[in-house]
Assembly symmetry: C2
Homo-oligomer: 402 residues x 2
């Protein structure tokens, strides 16, 4: 990518009503733009990161047997009435009446259409288990969108649904998926706390969340300093400073960002929506449902929250918009050649070929946050070298041009 | 892919109210499912095809300088009032009021938010031209959705917007994009007619459409039998059998599917939405806008319409869900080995490993429509061979297993 041609260059200012670090930095660095409260557009650099995050999630979901589908945003009221959630979600789900008088909701989550799809295509025990997922925008009528891309009205999510013939199979997959989530967040460079939580509008059972410790988060969780005890405030019976219920450690209160969650619905949908299968013995039995979400744009925002400094973003290698930020200081023809060479080698390079000052190029590179900055100038060329600096280190080294 | 594990197997029946070949075949073959009128869900096999079509479009858009972004479905009324389309689109655009009292429309098309994005990020002639595109669902409140995936309420589209500093640059890109569209449809195996047309709710100027001749289409166009004259009925001053206005040929009436269209808005948005730039001479000048669409799911449906027989779909190689449909007839351990070998070689194989009759496997293979069917059985193994048949040929050949 030549920076001179890229749409979405750095901006001096971000909207004043967006106080979160993720919105400020992502807008200023040219990754996203705000359309209105809680609604963000993804620019070319941002889309590279979104696709890298999505692909990591996709790989780990495929690895545990997930099959990708794409359901719709438009969903009929009748379907949402079956489990009683049309009324329950009023004011939270966008609900509208179309020109033919039909009541339609916008995809808030997808249990109902997934259950409907599976009951129409699955009959026999031979067809189970089935794990279906999609990576797709969700819509939520948030009264007060906040924290930038952490809580929006339209956001990208991976949602997987498991359909099992027994409680044991559901439990097995639940653990398998928890492990896959851990891998996803590790690959994204996000340290997460596996936290017991409540089910909200989803289920009355306890669920688990993957929480990133950050002041930008909206969740309060209690974490033990010695063992892996972690509970969301919603269900916790402890308070800050209490003795841990599981060991002799102490519980600490933390504000956190929920980047993933996993739910066990059991047979709740089998009952309400007639989600059944015919077992090997010819008998009709209930299908056990699980539901597993990862916020894609929320993960992106979380990475920025936990990995930035006063100068800008510091991208994790695995999701960075490029590997190398190449800066030419008055050595354009040599820089052009190096850019072509690196690109041919399959390296991802953002090449700042603009006719602007060194100061502007350096501060833009810091703001954008690509892992390595390579500077080529008459001075470095005398040594047949480029000056290489990592975004997260101060050290500058001269590296020979081969 | 092992067919035994695949979600979305063949179904005996498709909904009776879907009379089009594309909906009937895509539902029966397990590529899509219908949620309600005009709203289709994409199953795993269908998603492979959708992604292949999308990637061909993406490659050709990148080749002419397109930069991919992802705008939102939720759009504020204020933005659509600027060019006067909020009122104009009433009854066609889904419009709703959120819980805070804000009026929101669902992405019917994206000229307004694209113009808004570019005016906020582009100031100087140095930033132009810019070509932005996205591949994303559009929403249209169709009173009578019809023809299966050809005219739906929610559908996948590629939309590109060009921002130019002069009429000449817009014209140059318009021709360039027309050429890229021709390449896209050639790669998809779709023969298209480049047709002059009207601009609908988009522009008063004439536009161009890429039309696939098919009885499933909703458009009527007049095409000359000798030259490249082609006009949509909306603007045509000729009728069936008339002499061609451009040569001594004869004009014929055809029903057709519009799979792509290109529009020149010129400075219409510069005037209504203040879409300007500062030129090299320091003067404020209007930006020239163009808009270019390709229906992704509509292209998929069109491929099925023009390429099927009474047994099922016949996929074009470039977008087929797999290259090889491997069938085991009582030779499972050899078939397993062959499947592993082909997969390791990077071949895309749908492997029917089910315990069902040869007849079911053959008719499912014909319905699904993968370009090559390979049959392995005790009979073929005696010759150390597989039986290979192309979907679009009757000939069966024995091919040695290496």
């Amino acid at each position: 990518m030549r920076y001179s041609e890229l749409f979405g260059k750095t901006a001096r200012e971000a909207p004043k009503d967006e106080s979160s670090a993720n919105a400020q930095l992502l807008i200023k660095a040219g990754f996203v733009e705000k359309l209105f409260s809680g609604v963000f557009e993804i620019l070319p650099l941002g889309l590279v990161v979104v696709k890298k995050i999505s692909n990591i999630v996709r790989e780990e979901m495929n690895a545990i047997g997930g099959q990708e589908v794409s359901l719709t945003s438009l969903q009929p009221k009748e379907l949402w009435d079956e489990h009683g959630r049309w009324e329950k979600l009023k004011g939270a789900m966008y609900q509208l009446r179309d020109s033919s008088g039909k009541d339609i909701g916008l995809g808030f989550t997808h249990e109902e259409p997934m259950v409907d799809l599976v009951r129409s295509r699955v009959n026999s025990y031979k067809d189970l288990p089935i794990y279906l997922y999609q990576i797709q925008n969700k819509f939520r009528d948030e009264p007060r969108p906040r924290s930038g891309l952490i809580r929006g009205r339209e956001f990208l999510m991976k949602d997987l649904y498991s359909f099992s013939s027994s409680k044991e199979e559901l439990d097995r997959f639940y653990e398998l998926c928890a492990g896959a989530y851990k891998k996803v967040f590790d690959r994204l460079g996000l340290e997460t706390v596996y936290t017991e939580a409540a089910g909200g509008v989803f289920t009355n059972d306890n669920t688990h969340e993957f929480q990133v410790l950050s002041e930008a988060g909206e969740d309060t969780i209690f974490v033990c300093d010695k063992c892996d005890f972690a509970q969301n405030k919603e269900i916790a019976k402890v308070k800050n400073g209490d003795k841990c219920p599981n060991c002799d450690g102490q519980v600490k209160e933390e504000r956190a960002i929920e980047v993933g969650n996993i739910f066990r619905f059991g047979t709740a949908y089998a009952e309400s929506m007639n989600l059944n299968f015919t077992d090997v013995d010819g008998k009709k039995k209930p299908i056990y449902l699980g539901s597993y979400g990862i916020g894609i744009t929320r993960s992106l925002a979380s990475i920025v929250e936990v990995s930035h400094d006063e100068k800008g973003i510091i991208w994790t290698e695995s999701v960075a918009p490029a590997q190398i930020h190449l800066i030419s200081l008055g050595a354009n023809s040599e820089a052009d050649k190096l850019y072509e060479k690196l690109t041919k080698e399959g390296k991802e390079v953002l090449y700042d070929d603009r006719d602007v000052s060194a100061g502007v190029k350096f501060s833009d590179a810091d703001l954008i946050g690509i892992p390595q900055r390579w500077v080529i100038s008459e001075k470095t060329l005398k040594e047949n070298s480029v000056e290489v600096k990592k975004r997260n280190e101060d050290k500058v080294i001269l590296q020979k041009l081969s």
